[in-house]
């Protein structure tokens, strides 16, 4: 574009001198160029381009066309798994390196078909689930195409079901992977380990140092902090459409739906049913089903036929007994039905047990105690049962629902081990969204009364009212616990007064000049603030006495996580207008304190400056109003606590002022402030402010007691 403009500018000087024949020559030339271009354009968009464009998106190939790799009979076999492996011994973290996003990079080997010397395939090339799993990994943020940058490698050799593969040859196939290196940083997925007769609880394929994401680990095979225990996926979950059923009492108290159970267990269950009648239901395989009905979807009790998995929704507790394998696919179905799994499988490592708190969603009963299972369950109160039902369903939704969910949870666990300082918290893993929404985690939760000796830093925001400012400084400097005074000079057009003109006070006084006249400057976390307590004070608050300020600091020490201030305000719900309203009348309630005179923890400066939700900060600066309301919202939202209004003081500016204190009293001001409350409530998505009916006074305030013996005698009454 630039070039053409230039040409145009030079043009007018050239043209008039052109001769007529030249002109024709030029026109012809341009026509030829033009035609050529049209031709090129048409070539571009002609049908052949459809073929070439398919190259840009995902490759479409057939599985039958994957390259075949022949494994010589004597090709190397990896060592057996090393039981002492831990992340810091067997995992090569150097490959993961520094990563600003704290995400591991995962590479997937391309799909190959492995055959032995005789040309017999080693395993089925890939199962539907493993294909889904690899697709999910490849579509995630973890995936990288660059093998050199990868930190974790996933072979495309399908190991999900040990019965579907030849153990030794599969191991040989693993060993010849290009970056195998004794299996370091290789992640193998397996859901059905072991095989008859002894059913090992971990994959039998020799795998050396590779990490195993396995279904059905026992305490003996699971390498704590190295392997990942995953669920056995239930393909039934994907097939059946099962509408969610909320928690609450259900028809059967205890249900057993597994078909292949050891006779000893079945006897125990039968005894249970005999004892508890209707409340317990033990189902078994149907013997006389007519043709065409899939046996997997039906269960029978005597001659009664039940639909599976629908019947699980009729029960409060569902037994998940060990079979030959510890990991059972029924666990997934049970969770989905919102039925609380009763795990009877000693030494079984539950899926994702490294991060999931299974106590909240299941009951574990030792195999020996199977006969007591009913009484154990009966001791659980109904409220806890409903909580567990909700939790079970949430686990299924978040971590069991699909192959993708399983794959991503596995990678997240490994990622959290490698970048522990960015790890996901217990609450993030375990709390259902409804709990996360309602709960508040106070950032200053430790009950602590900071030492008085620390003192506080007063921050005065000023523009140009020097006289009033100096008066405030003089007053505040009389407070014994003041440790530093910071003046935020918000006027860019005028220099602050010379050093010699400032009042002489006993504590350091610093003047900070700001780059822009913004209200949020008062809440900036200046390096000069060395104390935890901050007193924000306007340059016209001259009425507060030294006793009142010192007492305010003492109150802050007892409530360091709250806004502790002098001017109290209230928000009200206006039923006529159906919105919030700002109230500055002297009422019996308080929900905000204005930061024209308030103590708070300096951490809230950091939150205000860097973590304020939405566009509130810019909005406040643009409107030059409501920074104090925004601070009240912010603190109430993160701490879940109310403000503390200190002392009866209601007038702050000058003795002559008779009416209510405030920036201005006119109607527009109140309307603006109400607007702020409505705006902030919509940004926060809730009304975090808490209304209280109390204020803090000195213990002996207005008591019949000699004034001179009171610690804070000089407390103004209005």
């Amino acid at each position: 574009m630039c070039a053409s403009v230039k040409y145009n500018i030079r043009g007018p000087a050239l043209i008039p001198r052109m001769k007529t024949k030249h002109r024709i020559y030029y026109i012809t030339l341009f026509s030829i160029v033009l035609l050529g271009l049209i031709a090129t354009g048409m070539f571009q968009f002609w049908p052949h381009s459809i073929e070439s464009s398919s190259d840009w998106s995902v490759q479409k190939r057939s599985i039958r066309d994957v390259p075949v790799v022949r494994l010589p009979a004597d090709s190397p076999v990896p060592e057996r798994g090393d039981l002492s492996c831990r992340m810091h011994t067997c995992f090569d973290v150097y490959r993961c390196g520094f990563n600003p996003k704290n995400k591991i990079k995962v590479y997937i080997y391309s799909l190959k078909k492995y055959v032995d010397d005789a040309g017999v395939p080693v395993s089925s090339t890939i199962s539907q689930e493993y294909n889904e799993l690899l697709t999910a990994v490849a579509d995630s943020d973890y995936y990288t195409e660059d093998i050199a940058r990868a930190c974790l490698f996933i072979p495309s050799i399908d190991l999900l079901n040990q019965n579907a593969l030849r153990v030794k040859e599969t191991a040989q196939a693993l060993a010849q992977l290009s970056r195998w290196d004794r299996g370091t940083n290789h992640l193998l997925f397996n859901m059905l380990p072991g095989g008859p007769p002894d059913y090992n609880t971990a994959l039998d394929v020799p795998r050396d140092r590779a990490l195993l994401a396995g279904g059905g680990f026992s305490t003996w095979t699971y390498r704590q902090g190295y392997d990942v225990s995953i669920p056995v996926y239930s393909p039934l979950s994907a097939e059946v459409d099962l509408p969610e059923k909320g928690p609450g009492p259900r028809r059967y108290f205890l249900l057993s739906s597994q078909m292949a159970l050891h006779p000893e267990y079945r006897e125990e269950l039968a005894a249970l049913q005999a004892r508890h009648g209707e409340a317990a239901l033990v189902l078994d395989k149907c013997t006389n089903l007519s043709e065409g009905i899939p046996a997997a979807r039906k269960r029978c009790h005597k001659h009664q036929v039940f639909d599976y998995p629908q019947v699980l929704q009729e029960a409060t507790f569902c037994v998940v007994l060990r079979g030959a394998r510890l990991g059972q696919a029924v666990l997934s179905d049970v969770l989905r039905a919102g039925c609380i799994p009763v795990i009877i499988a000693d030494s079984y490592i539950l899926p994702f047990s490294e991060v999931l708190d299974w106590k909240r969603a299941s009951v574990a009963v030792p195999e020996e105690k199977m006969s007591d299972v009913y009484s154990i369950l009966q001791s659980i109160p109904q409220r806890q049962i409903e909580e567990m039902q909700r939790q079970a369903r949430w686990f299924w939704e978040a971590y069991f629902q699909s192959i993708k969910a399983i794959a991503l949870a596995t990678l997240q666990i490994i990622n959290d081990r490698i970048y522990p300082y960015a790890a996901i918290s217990y609450e993030d893993w375990n709390d259902p969204p409804s709990v996360k929404w309602g709960s508040v985690s106070n950032p200053l939760f430790l009950p602590l009364i900071p030492p008085q000796s620390q003192g506080f830093t007063a921050i005065v925001l000023t523009y140009d009212r020097v006289e009033s400012l100096f008066r405030v400084i003089t007053e505040v400097s009389k407070v014994p616990s003041l440790s530093k005074l910071l003046v935020v000079w918000n006027n860019q057009n005028k220099n602050p007064p010379e050093d010699s003109l400032w009042p002489k006070i006993r504590v350091p006084l610093k003047v900070v000049r700001t780059a822009e006249n913004k209200l949020s400057n008062r809440f900036f976390p200046y390096d000069e603030i060395e104390t935890e307590a901050v007193l924000a004070i306007d340059d016209d608050i001259i009425m507060l006495t030294s006793d009142e300020l010192q007492f305010g600091y003492e109150v802050w020490r007892e409530f360091p996580d709250r806004l502790v201030g002098y001017p109290g305000r209230l928000h009200l719900w206006d039923h006529e207008m159906s919105k919030w309203k700002y109230e500055s009348e002297w009422t019996n309630e308080v929900s905000m304190v204005l930061t024209g005179a308030a103590f708070y923890h300096k951490y809230f400066n950091y939150l205000y400056t860097y973590k304020m939700p939405g566009d509130i900060k810019n909005w406040v600066d643009a409107h030059m109003n409501c920074e104090d309301i925004a601070m009240n919202f912010l603190v109430a939202n993160v701490t879940g606590k109310a403000v503390i209004k200190v002392t009866p003081r209601k007038k702050f500016k000058c003795p002559e002022c008779t009416a209510i204190d405030g920036l201005s009293l006119d109607q527009t001001h109140m309307v603006e402030r109400s607007e702020c409350i409505n705006k902030f409530a919509s940004v926060f998505g809730t009304m975090p402010l808490k209304v209280v009916e109390h204020r803090a006074d000195p213990v002996l305030y207005k008591d019949d007691f000699p004034e001179k013996l009171k610690s804070f005698p000089n407390i103004g009454s209005l």
């Binding site: 026109i27 271009l37 090129t40 995902v58 490759q59 599985i63 810091h88 150097y94 089925s124 199962s127 539907q128 493993y130 697709t135 579509d139 195409e145 079901n161 859901m191 059905l192 902090g225 597994q258 078909m259 006779p263 997997a296 079979g323 030959a324 394998r325 030494s347 106590k359 009951v363 030792p366 195999e367 020996e368 154990i376 109160p381 409220r383 522990p420 300082y421 790890a423 709960s439 985690s441 939760f445 430790l446 602590l448 620390q454 060395e530 935890e532 007892e558 308080v590 109310a642 209601k650 209280v692 009916e693 109390h694 803090a696 006074d697 213990v699 002996l700 305030y701 008591d703 013996l709």
Partner: protein
């Protein structure tokens, strides 16, 4: 004419240039993507025949994997289900028997014994016990104990050693659990063994030193890192650091070492602790100092890892990535740093600061295993006040406790039960009952009658139900968790208390904002008496207070459960013997849980003038001024708790317009302001 031609020429020129550009774009687009993408698959291919793929398991395979007999116990490997017999604990829950020591005992061992004997689980009969505790001998005695009499292959035994096995075990451990200090991860059996912290020799028996954290956020300018060195010392690195602190090359590379040889507690934000086992002592020091432990590939199991979520208080990092760890620590968001720091202090204070806490935590973990589904939820272990002070027997739901309303997004119930302790002859406290029943928040009135004489037969008619409970004639009865109490809040009263409805209403509204604290009207304050070298307390009006009298106070009903079931019996007996002591004890209990002062609300002075004189000593009556003899009680309590938990407050919460010179019509709690 000329101008028209010129214009057309220019138009043609312009058009051709636009076309050139338009034509170039597709050409460029074609040129860029084709060359590198040729043949390389992007992502995992979308197979054309993906629909035809088989499932990983055949339909029947997931449902019938061939039954197998219940597994026989494998030699040497134990887990909770197989090796612990919970049926022995069915009657009275966890009962612990300790084998008496043979021969002289070391100081540490004596402390452990004292802690177990002082716990509510202790029993003197081995037959009754469901857990038998065997103290592993320590280095100072040198001898190893013979196999104890009730050994039974180690079943239901816990072998406890506060120091990593100093003596080769002369007998096989069999099915016994091992509670060991800092066990290596290779031998530790999760869910069966218990990992203990490595305690220093001089660890106090109870109470213990408080955490060193004095403020929530790190002081500006404080060192970012401290590195654990041999000999229990710390090397404090400046803010400008490199990887050197732990690869030992500092001496050559850097200037003078900034060591503080005298300081045993590190003063830094993060404490780097190498994974070698001799450094585990540093771990507790860092916790106490509020210095966030950064464990570099620890080879040992973190203490109480079964229940404590260490990711909230410490960082387990890989020792092979020093630069990456340092960068991550430097760039860690302030919010996370604050949370980690505070959690170290909470954990130190709740589980590690004394031998007693360590032993009780161990027993609590085993009790949780026995309880199964009714054990402490994780929240109770990992949030203040901690699992030892949050009894799971009280309720399975955290929102029933006074401590977790914020995390649960819940609120305490909006009503209260008045619990009046009476027993004096004569008329029932008519005025008091009417004043309390007049409160809109009152749900019920319970009269706890603890006198030999039968209670009056006639009680005033009230709008709320009034129930008389027969007490056991002991002072500590008033804090028994009566099942009749149906609300979260209790208003504890004496028959001689005098309150107005306004006072009750306002105090209850305040309590709803502070459900974990006591909200009271009359206060005492404690002080250190230099002359007597002990604690004292006074009912004189002063500028601060630290206790509120239970003769008129709101608090959460959970404190009744805690008072009755968690306090050592000796302390409760003490309170029964000296009745004024019971107030001190209750205030000690609440303060040791909350670490905060109680709350005072306004109380009309006219009440005090209208009071009758105190009645029979020992019975319910005025306990306004502590008698001199009772002064000793506070010292005995302090000894029993191991420290002074009381915290002073200098404020009173008043109604917002209290005694303001504004129209009384504006005020909600008018009658509070009677002269």
């Amino acid at each position: 004419m000329q101008s028209w031609r010129r214009k057309s020429l220019w138009l043609a020129l312009l058009a051709s240039w636009i076309l050139v550009l338009l034509g170039l774009f597709p050409l460029l687009r074609l040129a860029v993507p084709t060359s590198p993408r040729a043949g390389a698959p992007r992502g995992w291919p979308r197979w054309l025949d993906a629909e035809l793929l088989q499932s990983f398991a055949k339909p029947g395979e997931l449902l019938e994997d061939g039954p197998r007999p219940p597994q026989a116990l494998r030699g040497g490997s134990c887990n909770w289900g197989a090796c612990f017999d919970t049926s022995k604990c069915r009657g009275g829950g966890l009962k612990v028997f300790v084998y008496p020591a043979a021969g002289p005992v070391s100081e540490t061992r004596r402390r452990i014994l004292a802690s177990v004997e002082g716990s509510r689980y202790h029993t003197l009969s081995a037959a009754e016990a469901c857990l038998l505790l065997l103290l592993s001998p320590d280095t100072s005695t040198g001898e190893c104990d013979p196999v104890p009499p009730q050994w039974d292959g180690g079943r239901n035994h816990l072998v406890l050693s506060l120091h990593p096995a100093p003596c080769p075990r002369t007998f096989q451990l069999g099915q016994a659990m091992v509670a060991e200090a800092s066990p290596t991860v290779d031998t530790f059996r999760p869910g069966f063994d218990v990992a203990l912290p490595l305690l220093p020799e001089a660890h106090p028996l109870r109470g213990g030193a408080p955490g060193q954290l004095r403020q929530h956020s790190p002081r500006p300018g404080v060192a970012l890192l401290a590195l654990a060195e041999d000999g229990g010392r710390w090397h404090v690195a400046g803010t400008d650091f490199s990887a050197c602190p732990w690869d030992g090359r500092c001496e050559q590379d850097r200037g003078p070492k900034q060591t503080h040889p005298g300081a045993t507690l590190p003063n830094a934000t993060f404490c780097l602790i190498p994974g070698r086992s001799p450094d585990v002592l540093h771990f507790l020091q860092a916790l106490q100092a509020g210095c966030i432990p950064v464990l570099l590939s620890p080879r040992w199991e973190l203490p109480f890892s079964e229940v404590i979520d260490w990711t909230k208080a410490a960082i387990v990092a890989d020792e092979r990535l020093p630069l990456q760890v340092l960068t991550a620590l430097q760039e860690m968001p302030l919010t996370r740093v604050l949370a980690l720091r505070q959690q170290t202090q909470f954990l130190w204070d709740a589980y590690f600061s004394s031998v007693e806490k360590v032993v009780h935590t161990t027993l609590e973990i085993i009790q949780d295993r026995i309880f199964g589904p009714s054990a402490h939820p994780s929240l109770l272990w990992n949030r203040p006040p901690g699992a030892i002070l949050a009894l799971p027997t009280f309720s399975p739901s955290p929102s029933d406790f006074p401590f977790y309303h914020l995390q649960q997004g819940s609120r305490p119930l909006g009503r209260f039960s008045a619990l009046i302790w009476g027993g004096a002859p004569g008329q029932p406290p008519l005025k008091l009952i009417q004043a309390v029943a007049g409160s809109q928040h009152c749900a019920q009135i319970l009269v706890l009658w603890s006198s030999e004489k039968p209670p009056p037969t006639r009680w005033p008619k009230t709008a709320v139900p009034l129930t008389v409970i027969d007490g056991h004639r002991k002072v500590s009865d008033r804090f028994f968790p009566y099942s009749a109490i149906s609300t979260d809040a209790i208003l504890s009263l004496d028959a001689h208390s005098s309150l107005s409805t306004s006072e009750v209403d306002f105090a209850f509204v305040v309590w709803q904002s502070f459900p974990e604290r006591m909200v009271g009207f009359l206060t005492w304050s404690h002080f250190w008496d230099e002359a007597r070298g002990g604690w004292g307390y006074t009912a004189k009006r002063t500028n601060e207070f630290s206790m509120v009298l239970t003769s008129a106070a709101f608090y959460h009903r959970y404190y009744h459960t805690l008072f009755t079931h968690s306090l050592p019996k000796a302390l409760r007996t003490l309170a029964d013997e000296a009745p004024t002591c019971v107030d001190v004890l209750m205030n000690f209990l609440v303060a040791s849980v909350t670490k905060l002062p109680p709350i005072k609300v306004p109380y009309g002075m006219w009440h005090q003038e209208a009071r009758p004189p105190p009645l029979e000593p020992g019975g319910p009556g005025l306990r306004q001024e502590p008698q001199p003899a009772a002064q000793n009680c506070i010292n005995q309590m302090a000894a029993g708790f191991g420290h002074m938990p009381l915290v002073s407050s200098r404020l009173r919460l008043d109604p917002v317009l209290f005694k303001d010179p504004v129209s009384v019509l504006r005020k909600k709690y008018r009658s509070l302001e009677k002269p």
